[in-house]
Amino acid sequence: MAATRALPPAPPVQRPRVLVVGSAFASAAAVMVFVALIGVYLSQRADTLLAGEAWLPQGLDIPLQQPTTMLFTLAMSVVTMQWAVSAVSNDDRINSYIALGTTLLFGVATVVMTTYLWSLMGADVSADPQAVLIYAITGGHVVMLVVAMAFVALMAFRALAGGFSARQHDGVTAAAIFWYAMVAVYALIWISIYVTK
């Protein structure tokens, strides 16, 4: 057995951006769920159209007004989220509270609009595989949105408790990364399901 070797001491360890890195990986995992679901949707749609059949069954109507409203709502939430990151990195607490609160408000609005859209579509999950796909994808996105809102709310409470500063604001940045990923997923859904149908 060898003795412990004497190694020269290292300089003090700088605090790395652990939460930001972890959030990026977690966001990538969440995005992959939707990439897979949308891939199945588009593949099934292409196969059906290739067979000369209509993709959406009779009675399933997907309006564009509500999805587009949600797209703009979430686009605005990206602005407010970045506003929050910018404010907290400048130690501007009032603006960071307002920005985080507004972002959450946009999130709630999107959840409400999604449920309204479901009531409009008239998709019968017990009869059509298309409805299964649409509910799985849009329902999954609502789950991701709620998780993102919980993340933002947690960071907002931490900010209210004075937990962040210009030097250390990784929590808000990490929440922003997950939020942006959620909005990017919605953009994919908007194009693939609501526009392309």
């Binding site: 972890g22 990538a28 995992a29 897979a36 199945v40 593949s43 329902g139």
Partner: protein, 523 residues
């Protein structure tokens, strides 16, 4: 320990009780110590590994003769439980547990990133695994006859994947963001590098399984079912996980374990280290199989990409093993069980990749039945078990502070080699039965040999557990148990105290302990 906690003052043995002494049950359940979490992951994966191989053996017995050993429902459940279980309950948590324990030590970190998330990963996985087993016992395997139990299985699979992804994020974040000063990413130990590659591939591909499961669940529970949730289609939608090339994604950590074992126990630096790191990375990329889903993309296995990946992964494996063989030749290999087990793991993986290349050759018609794929799957999982056992024997002195019995380890070399070969190769041979009628006549004998292999593998897992327990009677060891340690885990006490390290070294190469030793040798 929360993310925002400061680094513990010291890593000396006096600073805290050795973490190998776990109080029960509060200290165990409430622990955020990566060493406790990793050990529990490994221990549970081993125990469940015995059950996994026994279940696989039972299914094999059913395939012998007229297939009347089990009812159809039971056979369906065992087929689903055996294959998914061996991956999600045995292979993945075994390697993730080792990574959770060792990656922080190898990169000089005082903790794993997000320790509470790592603990949540462990307990979520355990609860989901229990749910998975209970659901299968209630006729809830994929394609099973009891709808509520099938829904439980689907939730259990999603839970296990979620847990594994969370655990992977903790491990790769540790390697990416918590490395000690001077340790660039190309200087991390092989196992850490392999864990980064594994975690990245899992983060990108396992969520695809969640998507599959979500579709099946929504359709099965709320739908007619119309298409995704129908009985016959459930297994087909998730079968890509246990097939080529995705199954290789579970063997990536083996490459890291084998390389660390070989370089340390041969006492030399790995030549062309960057190339070996690149080969491990290439193996990971070639193990991305979420795109090849025959259920949605029937032509996937006829594509040039599918065939090309199978060919390339064989070349990568050969080059990797060639690089390690050169290290063995240039070094002073010791006749120890970790080295033997590493050789078994490498050999089984090589056999699997050779079989994988044959699998993509369309004229051989090996994709006509699932038997050949079952054999390939068994070889890969046996390789992971052998690699995991090599890692356990190699790092057991670090984990426990005492040496395990090398006799058990050496016996295990033989057992896992024989078991892996018997479990996989007969089914590979049987896969050719579509072209050679005489092989079809020998089906019962070949299935019988495969069953024997499964049982021998279960015995091998038991031997690994026994070897781990044998450390209680082993001799105490210092920080560098092998006397030739190259990487940072061998610089901290055995077992590592809370906080792992005290004063950290500035790392100037991939083998910091050799750097520290060389000036003394020259003097």
């Amino acid at each position: 320990m929360a993310l925002t906690d400061t680094r513990p003052d010291t890593g000396t043995a006096e600073a805290a009780a050795p973490t190998g002494e776990v109080g029960f049950p509060a200290d165990l359940i409430g622990s955020g110590d990566h060493k406790v979490i990793g050990l529990v992951y490994v221990a549970l994966a081993l125990v469940l590994g015995v059950a996994g191989w026994v279940v696989t053996a039972l299914y094999g017995i059913h395939r012998i003769g007229d297939g009347d050993f089990l009812s159809d429902a039971a056979a369906t459940n065992l087929a689903s439980a055996g294959r998914l279980g061996l991956l999600l309950i045995v292979a993945a948590p075994l390697t993730l547990g080792l990574a959770t324990y060792l990656v922080p030590l190898q990169v000089g970190a005082n903790t794993v990133a997000f320790p509470r998330a790592a603990a949540a990963s462990l307990w979520t996985w355990l609860l989901s695994a229990a749910l998975f087993i209970v659901a299968h016992a209630l006729d809830g395997g994929l394609g099973g006859g009891r709808p509520e139990a099938v829904d439980m299985t689907l939730l259990a699979i999603a839970g296990m994947v979620l847990a594994l992804v969370i655990g992977s994020v903790c491990v790769i974040t540790t390697a990416v963001a918590l490395r000690t000063p001077g340790m660039a990413l190309d200087r991390v130990p092989f196992f850490t590098w392999a864990s980064v590659i594994t975690g990245s591939i899992w983060v990108l591909t396992l969520p695809v399984l969640v998507a599959n499961v979500a579709l099946i669940y929504v359709d099965h529970r709320y739908g007619g079912p119309t298409e995704f949730g129908i009985e016959g289609g459930q297994w087909a939608q998730v079968s890509w996980l246990v097939g080529q090339p995705q199954v290789y994604a579970f063997a990536i950590p083996v490459l890291g374990i084998v390389a660390d074992v070989v370089t340390t126990l041969c006492g030399v630096r790995q030549a062309n280290r960057g190339v070996v790191l690149g080969l491990i990375g290439a193996f990971g990329v070639l193990g991305i199989g979420a795109w090849a889903q025959p259920y949605f993309y029937p032509e996937a296995q006829d594509q040039a990409l599918f065939a090309g990946m199978a060919g390339l992964i064989l070349l990568v494996t050969l080059a990797y093993l060639g690089g390690l063989a050169a290290t063995v030749r240039s070094g002073r290999p010791s006749a120890t069980s970790p080295l033997g087990l590493a050789a078994v793991a490498g050999l089984l993986l090589l056999l699997a990749t050779v079989a994988g290349l044959l699998y993509v050759i369309t004229p051989l018609e090996l994709r006509e039945t699932g038997v050949y794929a079952d054999g390939l799957f068994a070889l890969v999982v046996a390789s992971v078990v052998a690699g995991g056992s090599a890692g356990i024997m190699y790092w057991a002195p670090k984990m426990t502070g005492r040496t395990p019995s090398d006799a058990y380890g050496k016996l295990n070399v033989l057992v896992l080699l024989v078991g892996g070969a018997l479990a996989g190769l007969p089914l590979i041979v049987l896969g050719f039965a579509t072209r050679f009628d005489s092989l079809a006549d020998a089906a019962d004998a070949l299935w019988g040999i495969a069953v024997a292999g499964d049982i021998v593998l279960a015995l091998g897992v038991v031997l690994t557990i026994v070897a781990l327990f044998s450390t209680t009677r082993g001799a105490s060891v210092g920080p560098d148990a092998w006397g030739s340690g190259q990487t940072l885990e061998w610089a901290c006490p055995s077992p590592p105290p809370a906080g792992n390290f005290g004063e950290l070294a500035v790392v100037r190469s991939a083998e910091p302990l050799l750097d520290a030793a060389e000036p003394a040798e020259e003097a």
